[in-house]
């Protein structure tokens, strides 16, 4: 598949959203709400879940599945309070030694008046700094769209895994085409140039793993992820914290 087709697959209306992954992979998910400063952002879901014998903190961008739910969840485009809720739950996870698993699926952080007034840039910046030194294992799984800074805001992780048809891009192909060539119709060409597919990002050392997608409801994918997340956590929890953090910094530091 070429880049344009993968972008379309990642955005497909019938593609499973984060809620399906949480249900399919974890047990006893308990959602926790609110950033303790301003409000609760339904575009980002967070909480505690059980994976085998241990508990993890799960943070996910949720686009919603019905028209009504999509509107409530703002199509997975978070406001600053969403990023602040995510950070609150990550700090909570650190305090209690729970690993963090995030599911990324957003066209980007929301561009709006309230988002600017409440410091969208500051909220994301703060997450980037704090996630880099979070003293528990962090895994980011890209399940659909990875829209720029809005995706990165919950994706500074020890490893980035990408579903086969997920993408991760500095700008949407449409945005890129209209800025560079004043022609949004050239988005397919921009999608190729931006090197945004899972395979491209493996080559660029941005992603560590590609997760195969199974036909018919993704059940096989969820089963596979359950195993692999468990193995990832077991391995990373063996590591001394300073080594874990050194490796995390190095993963990003080496990209030049």
């Amino acid at each position: 598949m070429n880049a344009k087709d993968r972008v379309a697959a990642a955005r497909a209306q019938d593609r499973p959203t984060a809620g399906k992954y949480i249900k399919g992979i974890f047990d006893e998910f308990t959602e926790l709400h609110g950033d303790r400063c301003f409000g609760d952002d339904p575009a980002i879901v967070g909480g505690i879940a059980r994976l085998g014998q241990s508990y993890v903190t799960v943070i996910a961008q949720e686009k919603g599945t019905t028209t009504r739910e999509r509107a409530i969840r703002n199509f997975g485009s978070a406001h600053p309070e969403g990023y602040r809720k995510a950070l609150r739950l990550m700090k909570q996870a650190e305090k209690f030694g729970r690993p963090v698993v995030t599911f990324v699926d957003t066209s980007g952080a929301f561009c709006g008046i309230g988002a600017e007034e409440r410091g969208q840039g500051q909220a994301i910046a703060s997450n980037l700094m704090e996630m880099m030194v979070l003293k528990v294992p962090v895994l980011a799984i890209f399940i659909g769209e990875g829209g720029s800074g809005g995706a990165l805001g919950i994706a500074v992780a020890d490893q980035v895994w990408m579903l086969e048809n997920a993408f991760y891009s500095v700008i949407s192909p449409e945005g890129c085409a209209s800025i560079l060539w004043k022609d949004p119709a050239r988005a397919p060409e921009a999608a190729e140039c931006l090197k945004l597919t899972a395979g491209d990002l493996m080559d660029l050392s941005v992603a560590e793993r590609i997760i195969p997608e199974s036909e018919g409801g993704f059940q096989k994918t969820f089963d596979f992820l359950k195993e692999e997340i468990g193995a990832f956590i077991a391995e990373k929890q063996q590591m001394p914290v300073d080594e874990l953090l050194r490796e995390r910094y190095h993963k990003f530091r080496k990209i030049q």
């Binding site: 952080a109 929301f110 561009c111 709006g112 008046i113 988002a115 600017e116 007034e117 409440r118 410091g119 969208q120 840039g121 500051q122 994301i124 910046a125 703060s126 980037l128 700094m129 704090e130 880099m132 030194v133 720029s148 800074g149 990165l152 805001g153 500074v156 991760y168 891009s169 500095v170 700008i171 890129c176 800025i179 560079l180 140039c193 931006l194 090197k195 945004l196 990002l201 660029l204 941005v206 910094y249 990003f252 530091r253 990209i255 030049q256």
Partner: protein, 291 residues
């Protein structure tokens, strides 16, 4: 005329005919002598502007400055020592027309990348210093930009220097794709590690500071100052208008509204910046912490 009173613009974004801003009258003076202020649209003698640190004597508008002009204005005379001066932008993805754009940016700015890094003394206090260059692809952050900034914070941590940084950026540079986005995480990690070792970081946000730079090292300083009226935002006003199809409140994304909303510490006009930075450097004695 009465008919005109009832003519409604189609939406809030479309200006009514009477509300349209008139183009400033063409003034036939050689442009080396005169500059038209982008704020008040009046002609100003270039020599007056230069003497006034490129602040319009009529309206106080802070014009954009090149990195070297800023360094000259802020650093003690002869004190600036550049670091990593020969690092030039490259084209890691083989993006169409990018090589040409890089060469054009080099010519336009006479810099190799969108940031100048080094050490200097400001009011006799030694400091690490970075200044972004708006004339180089609008200060957009490529991999080399991120690399120089990360290196500067690592260098400052090792040498126990504070960091003073002037931001001016259109955000991540799309021609370098995800490698450019990753610079946000990389620089944030470098700032955090510097900060956790007790380092003091002062940022001065200048027009425009947007996108991936706002969402990383611009907003991560211990003290954040801004120039008057500077555009400081995550998404620019035009992007927001296109997204929500509403007219924006006046001043959204300007330094004054960020001050009001609690996201910056102080607005410091250009004429007072050197004094302000020197005072902040004196006030922050380093407390050494374990890495």
């Amino acid at each position: 005329m009465i008919k005109g009173l009832f003519k409604k613009p189609k939406n809030d974004l479309e200006p009514s005919v009477s509300g349209r801003i008139e183009k400033p009258a063409e003034v036939n003076i050689p442009h080396e002598l005169c500059t038209v202020c982008p704020g008040c649209k009046k002609s100003v003698f270039s020599s007056d502007l230069q003497e006034n640190d490129y602040v319009c004597p009529n309206c106080g508008k802070h014009l954009r400055l090149n990195a070297r002009q800023r360094i000259h204005m802020i650093a003690d005379p002869e004190s600036f020592q550049e670091l990593w001066a020969d690092m030039a932008g490259s084209d890691p993805l083989g993006f169409p027309e990018y090589e040409e754009k890089l060469r054009a940016a080099e010519l336009a700015s006479r810099e190799m990348e969108s940031v100048v890094t080094g050490t200097a003394r400001i009011g006799k206090k030694p400091t690490a210093l970075f200044v972004m260059e708006p004339a180089f692809m609008m200060g957009s952050m490529g991999t080399v930009t991120g690399e120089k900034i990360a290196r500067l914070f690592e260098y400052a941590a090792e040498k126990e220097l504070p960091v003073v940084g002037f931001t001016a950026s259109g955000g991540a540079r799309m021609q370098e794709g995800m490698l450019s986005l990753m610079q946000m995480a990389k620089t944030s990690g470098a700032v955090k590690r510097f900060s956790d070792r007790g380092g003091f970081y002062l940022a001065v946000l200048t027009d425009p500071t947007t996108g991936g730079v706002t969402a990383s090292f611009a907003m991560e300083a211990d003290v954040i100052a801004a120039e008057p009226d500077a555009l400081i935002c995550f998404a620019g006003p035009r992007v927001i208008e296109q997204t929500i199809r509403q007219k924006l409140p006046p001043g959204l994304g300007r330094a004054e509204s960020l001050l009001k909303n609690g996201f910056i510490d102080k607005i410091v006009p250009r004429s007072e910046q050197k004094k302000f930075i020197a005072r902040m450097l004196r006030a922050h004695r380093r407390i050494r912490k374990e890495a």
